[in-house]
């Protein structure tokens, strides 16, 4: 990206995850995968699951009865991010607010339900209310509808870098003046078929099959990952364009400023990322990993190659690794949440993801 573009700031965070529905950063605490009890046809398995909750208990008035979990979580996470940003949407020009949603598998729960209804009733007997909710873009549509957001509404996907992709696309919308504020979301819901796919493909960590505390199982992660689910949301705002709430400019908290971002399916990551950095060296790298722990993964090696040994490198979190392509926002949130208070980090930070033979993604941020 061209360096002289207007700054874009992350001003709000919300999430629905195994940590629960939360506004703001996620207080660091150990997270253990939980036993999957809903799928009776398989032997005990573990995953990082969102525990059931009533969305209306978090967002009063929210109706989610006809929605799948992914759409419901997107509504809750977006509401929490907006709340965290201190935004009163009724005071904004909502035609200037965009929604960008990243997902790997979209509304897979209702896609499966639609198939089952076809199997039970024939293709001529499927449920009309289910079909529109099977679209990958349904969660983003609901977010626009619920909040009355009339700006661009985009759903993106990428096998490994959907979350980074969403951040970059949202920043692009803001910088080109196509919106003043963007709600960026990324996430997926876990289903039995998805879990089975990982299992048959031999992608799962041994930690999925026993109840040892994860701390002891960390060494097994190189051999696979623990599937997870959830939706993360961030609010991104452009200020130099006079933003939708420019009067609040001085009061608004900034988690980080978006500087630039690139992703590619091949090429030489270090070379491209150095171009993005423009000669500077990030003091913090948040690894968005590829299923391996940061200490020994290609992501860490790349982070060290770019940043040197003195930079703070935050390893990928097992929970966010389990979201595959849509995990980057959680990696970012968990990374910011886990910054050591004993060693304050400021200046440039890199959200860095790599995937074997599938390229890289790099998002350059500036910490306040």
């Amino acid at each position: 990206m061209t360096p002289n573009l207007p700054p874009v700031t992350i001003t709000g965070i919300g999430s629905v995850s195994p940590y629960g529905p939360l506004a703001g950063l996620i207080p660091p605490r150990p997270l253990e995968p939980s036993a999957i009890t809903a799928w009776t046809s398989v032997a005990p398995r573990r995953a990082f699951l969102v525990q059931p909750f009533r969305p209306s208990s978090v967002v009063p008035g929210l109706k989610t009865r006809r929605l799948d979990r992914l759409s419901a979580w997107a509504l809750v996470a977006s509401s929490l991010a907006i709340q965290d940003a201190g935004i009163d949407l009724s005071q904004l020009d909502r035609s200037r607010v965009a929604v960008v949603f990243a997902t790997g598998f979209g509304c897979i729960e209702l896609t499966e339900a639609f198939y089952l209804s076809a199997a039970a009733n024939g293709w001529n007997g499927t449920d009309p209310s289910t079909f529109p909710e099977t679209l990958a873009s349904a969660p983003a549509g609901h977010v626009s509808l619920f909040h009355g957001l009339r700006g661009p509404n985009v759903t993106v996907s990428n096998k490994h870098f959907a979350g980074e992709n969403a951040l970059i696309q949202a920043a692009s919308l803001l910088r080109h003046g196509q919106a003043d504020l963007a709600i960026v979301l990324a996430g997926d819901a876990l289903t039995q078929s998805l879990y089975s796919w990982y299992e048959v493909a031999d992608l799962l960590s041994p930690a999925c099959y026993n109840s040892d505390p994860l701390a002891q199982a960390d060494s097994r992660i190189p051999n696979g990952f623990i599937p997870s689910e959830g939706v993360a949301a961030v609010v991104m705002e452009s200020y130099d364009r006079g933003g939708v709430r420019s009067d609040l400019r001085s009061d608004v908290r900034s988690y980080a400023r978006f500087r630039s971002g690139r992703w590619a399916a091949g090429g030489h990551p270090a070379e491209v990322i150095r171009q993005v950095l423009g000669g500077s060296v990030p003091s913090l790298t948040i690894c968005a990993g590829n299923g391996a722990p940061c200490a020994s993964s290609p992501t860490t090696a790349l982070a060290r190659e770019i940043s040197g040994d003195d930079a703070v490198v935050i390893p990928p979190q097992a929970f966010a690794l389990g979201l595959a392509g849509s995990g980057a926002l959680f990696h970012l949130i968990l990374g910011l949440s886990s910054l050591p208070s004993s060693r304050p980090v400021s200046g440039q930070a890199l959200l860095l993801g790599t995937a074997a033979h599938s390229g890289f993604a790099a998002v350059l941020l500036e910490l306040p």
């Binding site: 001529n124 549509g141 993106v156 089975s196 299992e199």
Partner: protein, 403 residues
Amino acid sequence: MTDSHKTIVVTGVGVISPYGIGLDCLQAGMLSGRSCLEPTKDMYPGFEGTTAEVQESVLRSKDFCSRYSRTDQLAIAAAQDAMVNSGCDRATFRESGVLMANTVGGLTEIDAGIAKDPAAWFRRPGGLLRGSSFPIAHVADAVGDHFGIRGPRCAISVACASGAMAIALAANMLLDGAAPIILAGGSDPLCPFTLSGFNSLRALDPNPCSPFDQNRNGVNLGEGSAVLVLETLAGATARNANVLAVLRGWAMTNDAFHTTAPHKEGSGLADCIHLSMEMAEVSGDEIGYVNAHGTGTPLNDIAEANAYETAFRGRNRPIPVSSTKSYFGHCLGAAGALEAAITIMAVRSGALLPTLRLTNPIESPGVDWLRGEVKRQPLPLAMSASSGFGGSNTVLIFGSGRS
């Protein structure tokens, strides 16, 4: 930055449609007035309706390996046609981006067994491979991997506005310098899942559709793919590329009104048209033709007519509008890209295609509903409008390369 760095141009167009492969094939078929919509009975047991299919022989000739879903195959065929149409060898595209829209993904490869007993489904021969094509992202990867393209890849899915939005987002990315060239478009096949879904919504016209007619009765589904080769004018000039058209303006909005129904006044689409004209720095009088979304459903077409009335109010003559879905149906995630290709075709040829079977148009005094014969006139600027479930709208404005 000079203007040539901010100007996005089209240097290649690839199409696979029920007419066959290539823009010339599409143009010849459409100019002849031939409709590809035909009675269909075998899409799933009990289905009787009207669809437009890409002929199997067209795809078979491509010698695709089994790892590609039909969505992938259509996308690869269109991307290859776009690269050939651009006159460049594959090496030119090595660092390019790939933005492919779709809504179906690999649903053509999947059946109910995946939900009933997923472990058994994946363990059967080819199960993992078929399952891996399910995510919508796979289409962009299929195109990228097939042609050895290593720039940024992304799948876009915003229902029926997907194809147009892929083009709009690609234009943003080019302005950002994310890649020197981007292959952007959409691909979607016919499949029981979507036919059943639209059938359950009672949105399908059992006969060939008649968009914008007062007696319209719903949509027909089709299949296909279109891919544009997009780059900045500076890039195109530097490599002496043939500029087919200029993407003068683009905009995206959302109705925020209803999950499946458009805003009845078409306000979201009208806003989108205004924004695209603002970007293109043109007035409504300068737009010579609108290739409409025009699905043929009662709700869409009246909302769209209202949008044109609002957006082109004050124009000194009615705005010429047609729906080319009357030729080969609604190709869902590919529709916006195919209609972008048709709009480029109109700009280049000056041939304004009529809506087929439009006998009793919606009363809309600000709109000149094109019907009957092909209208020929110089066409410096034309617009393509797309909308979809979830309220998304995208509008693209194309100008001739000569301007």
